[in-house]
Amino acid sequence: MVEERADVAAQPDESGLIGRLRAGDEATFEALIDRYHNSLLRMARSYTRDAAVAEEMAQDTWIALLESLGRFEGRASLKTWLFRIFMNVARARARKESRTVPFSELTPAEENAKPGEGSTVEWHRFTPSWLPRFGGHWISTPGRWQDLPEEQALSSETRAIIASAIATLPDVQRAVITLRDVEGFEAEEVCNLLGVSSTNQRVLLHRARAKVRRALEPHVPGVTS
């Protein structure tokens, strides 16, 4: 059971947080790992299929964060700092293993994709495009989803559906949606972290969101009117 936790990332002034961390306050560190560890793991899974290696990469990131605290000047947010460190951990591992970091490597399909093309929604949900005037319309229209209760934690079922939808995404899509939607980074920060163009970032995000929506669709209660 996950209780509502104060979002450690939401503090506008992080200097208090950094101070407590530097002073060795374990509860502060624990709040941070509760908040970010799973996202680091999701990112690491874009690098490796091996759960143990992913866990090691996330652990290495935390240790590197602690060791670099002395150099942290607060110009970037702690969150940005943390994910930059993660990218360094991934790059260092890639160098050691003589491979490239996969985050900015797009599959041929993604490489050639243009915004606005693809199958965001299954084609059979629309009338055939050749139908004069009525082509490309919804056959059965999407339902209205119930509003989300303000600030309420997701049910464990919903969380599992989203987590597994993200887990099965292609690597770069998973990295993009984790940073953008789960962690709330701006598009520009994601482009910088991953080294992708803004157009590619958008295409990847679009595909990733579309798949998560599709996974949620059968489960989210609709509005009964």
């Binding site: 374990e26 970010y36 965001t120 319309h137």
Partner: protein, 82 residues
């Protein structure tokens, strides 16, 4: 985007719309379509809620073994002379 924006085409443009990456003309056509199409307007709303829900995903628990390992690493770091 052609002057006739179908539902099938609109769903492909949702992220560009939300990211404010559509040209003014495309944006106008997009919004005009939404005004008269309950299906697409519900779809956009589903997409917004999907994003909101993904943003609440981080409220989840860490594996107990991983937590213990991290806390042990933290205590090691703390015990080291500065």
């Amino acid at each position: 985007v052609s002057s006739t924006l179908t539902c099938r085409k609109l769903v492909e443009l949702v992220t560009e719309y939300l990211e404010e990456a559509l040209s003014p003309g495309d944006r106008e056509r997009f919004e005009a379509h939404l005004m008269k199409c309950e299906g697409c307007s519900a779809y956009l709303d589903q997409m917004r809620k999907t994003i909101l829900m993904a943003g609440r995903l981080h409220q989840s628990d860490i594996e107990p073994a991983a937590r213990e390992k991290l806390l042990a690493a933290f205590r090691d770091w703390r015990a080291r002379p500065a």
